[in-house]
């Protein structure tokens, strides 16, 4: 049903429909509205069979979910900015253990100087932690990505981060199509953990892996993450079938046909970008856009694409002209020219950094 609703509230609603069993978070702007709403839903009994836990830090929040996920429950948290960085160790840990945790990152700048407004520095800092990173271009996508995130996480046994621009999306009251519980249930089956702490069948989870096997284990993790490249579009397609809304999957293009310039972007800025492209196109400029939804795993198809950009939305220091989102370019920079050339990278080369 279409509602005029705040992005955070909408996200909280659909996360509730995904029937999480343990929700745990530490307050940080601009993620608070999501978690406040979830706490209220649990308290009201709108979400049943769910534990909502207030903890003393983001590090503890994700740690609680690591325990809960290992014990076989569907888990969810949300954070932002310094909070994400404070849980960094646990972020890597959750990925390393293959725990299908879903986390909203209400993207916010990382201080100093302290700034609660939006940029992508926080999630970019954790881009190589082994999580899937999905970026929402608007709140409808934010809502839809969360539902897909649980499917993806649980199907792949990897944690998924849904990045939603702080304030610009989280606090924006917009028209959003909120799905029905029946639709979510049809799309997202009950969670069946692949590994579970259970006295009936004891397991050791989180053993110490020495140099003899570490690389191999990490390689397996990498390969698993790369499988998302196929799975994300597949799940998006299935989502479209259930919810009647086509979703971009790994990425979407905008007026790319005949474009001499493609602007690569992600997040809420893309709406403005599309308006600008429309204006430029109207005045005869051959320009289009590529919107990256799945930043991790990075869509390798982009590597031969000719790009100026990307449109960077995170702060950076110590790097000439480019922030983290643009750092994939060096591998394909020489392929970029005014005129796009359909050159492919050599077999096996991976374009993402």
């Amino acid at each position: 049903m279409r509602e005029q609703i705040e992005g955070s509230q909408a996200i909280a609603r659909v996360v509730g429909m995904c029937r999480p069993q343990v929700v745990c978070a530490y307050p940080i702007t601009p993620q608070t509205h999501i978690v406040e709403s979830l706490g209220l839903q649990v308290k009201r009994g709108d979400i049943t069979g769910c534990e909502f836990i207030n903890v003393e830090s983001e590090f503890a929040a994700l740690s609680v979910l690591i325990g809960a996920s290992a014990a076989g429950s569907r888990t969810y948290t949300a954070t932002a900015s310094q909070g994400l960085l404070y849980m960094t160790e646990a972020v890597y840990n959750a990925a390393g253990m293959g725990l299908p945790i879903v986390m909203t990152v209400a993207n916010r700048a990382v201080g100093a100087p302290i700034n609660i407004w939006n940029d992508h520095s926080d999630s970019m800092a954790l881009r190589d932690s082994g999580w899937v990173q999905l970026h929402a271009a608007d709140n409808q996508e934010a809502v839809d990505l969360h539902i897909q995130a649980f499917r993806l996480a649980e199907q792949l046994s990897v944690p998924v981060m849904v990045c939603v621009d702080g304030f610009a999306l989280t606090h924006a009251v917009e028209e959003i199509d909120i799905p029905g519980q029946d639709q979510v249930d049809a799309f997202l089956p009950p969670f069946v953990a692949r590994q579970r702490l259970d006295p009936a069948a004891p397991l050791t989870i989180g053993s110490m892996v020495g140099p003899d096997a570490f690389t191999e284990v990490r390689y397996l993790a990498h390969q698993r993450l790369r499988r998302a490249t196929d799975l994300v579009p597949a799940i998006a397609a299935e989502f479209a079938g259930v919810f009647g809304r086509s979703r971009p999957g790994l990425l979407e293009t905008y007026r790319a046909e005949g474009a001499e310039t493609l602007v690569v972007a992600q997040g809420s800025v893309t709406g403005t970008l599309f308006d600008v492209i429309d204006d430029l196109r109207d005045s005869g400029v051959p320009i289009g856009a590529v919107v990256v939804t799945a930043y991790r795993p990075f869509p390798a198809v982009l590597s031969p694409t000719c790009c100026r950009g990307p449109l960077e939305w995170s702060s950076w220091t110590g790097r000439w002209r480019r922030g983290p989102a643009g750092s994939w370019r060096p591998t394909s920079a020489r392929l970029c020219d005014r005129a796009p050339r359909a050159r492919r990278s050599s077999p096996g080369s991976v374009a993402d950094p």
């Binding site: 069993q21 534990e51 903890v55 830090s57 690591i66 325990g67 809960a68 702490l197 006295p199 053993s207």
Partner: protein, 336 residues
């Protein structure tokens, strides 16, 4: 604190078992078919107090929970020596996440089990003194404050042994570690107020806090059993001597723990809802001198010349504990 007076005098209730003792009064460790939650083949040092303490605690917890137990482990010796891939020594469902987050991860496990309606499965978190006193204190305090249904066990060997014996907040005054070398007039670790973790736990008002040593098996098991009978956040602090870090032969582990208790340096007691309710009195009081002499980490107190002032200060700490907890006052424990 044996609950039943036992008319038994040969080895009383102090040994692990004894053929003459009613089986219900023997320890879990004396059972022929005990769980061995931490099984053989682990890579703990010879005479490791922590390996011993962990098995004591977990086997007792397994009995108290009828085998329905999940264990969460902080990073540290216990984790490293028990799970070098691809080997695991754990016979219980076991999770290791990080150094600082065992209490939080355990809270999560408990929450998940509750959400799944499996409250009969109990959760135990464990870590060393570094994980407990230092890096993980925030998560531990949170777990206490929320009164999450987790028994947290600290195996205290009084320093960071896994990384090569560096000082922790649990390192006692005058002890030498790699970061508190006894150089010149320095006595090793400084004489500060330290961090009294059991008291920190008690300050949260949680339902159960207790201390124990690996030298008194009956006491540990009774405390684990008592703790498992309670819901909510519980804290058990077990002194586990480390042959490597303390500088003592591996066969002295249990003796040192005993001496720590009998000297008064390590008070053994139980607190419920923030108040001390029971004390394990000293059976045969000893001066701290012998305890200190037995450990290389205190050798600088005796060589090249005896630092009587420092030793006296340590004795004063023991005396203060004895006075504070009434370690000499209560009737002698054990069979009468």
């Amino acid at each position: 604190m044996p609950s039943t007076p036992v008319r038994f005098y040969q080895v009383g209730s102090f040994a692990a078992g004894n053929r003459l003792l009613d089986p219900s009064l023997r320890t879990v460790q004396s059972e022929q078919g005990r769980t061995n939650s931490l099984t053989s083949g682990h890579r703990a040092c010879q005479g490791c107090g922590e390996a011993l303490g962990a098995r004591y605690v977990l086997d007792a917890a397994m009995r108290a929970s009828a085998g329905q137990l999940v264990v969460v482990n902080a990073t540290g010796c216990l984790e490293v020596f028990s799970t070098p891939y691809p080997e695991s020594s754990w016979q219980v469902p076991w999770l290791h996440s990080l150094f600082a987050n065992a209490p939080a991860a355990a809270s999560g496990v408990a929450a998940a089990l509750h959400a799944q309606g499996r409250d009969s499965v109990r959760v135990l978190a464990q870590g060393g003194d570094g994980a407990t006193f230092d890096i993980g204190l925030g998560c531990l305090s949170g777990m206490f404050e929320r009164n999450d249904d987790v028994l947290y066990v600290c195996y205290d060997n009084e320093a960071y042994m896994n990384t090569g014996v560096q000082r922790s907040a649990a390192t006692p005054p005058a002890a030498r570690t790699a970061t508190t070398e006894a150089v010149g007039p320095e006595p090793g670790n400084s004489f500060g107020r330290g961090k009294d973790m059991p008291r920190v736990a008690m300050a949260h008002g949680i339902p159960y806090v207790a201390t124990a040593t690996v030298a008194d098996l009956h006491d540990i098991e009774e405390k684990v059993t008592a703790a498992m009978a309670v819901r909510g956040a519980r804290y058990l602090h077990v002194l586990v001597p480390c042959p490597l870090g303390w500088g003592a032969p591996p066969d002295q582990t249990v003796r040192l723990a005993r001496q720590a208790k009998e000297s008064g340096l390590f008070p053994v007691f139980t607190a419920r809802d923030g108040e001390v309710t029971e004390v394990s009195p000293i059976r045969h009081r000893i001066p701290v001198d012998g305890y200190l002499r037995a450990q290389r980490r205190y050798r600088h107190l005796f060589e090249p010349e005896e630092r009587t002032e420092d030793i006296a200060r340590i004795q004063a700490m023991a005396d203060a504990n004895i006075a504070r907890y009434g370690l000499l006052d209560p009737p002698q424990r054990g069979p009468q």
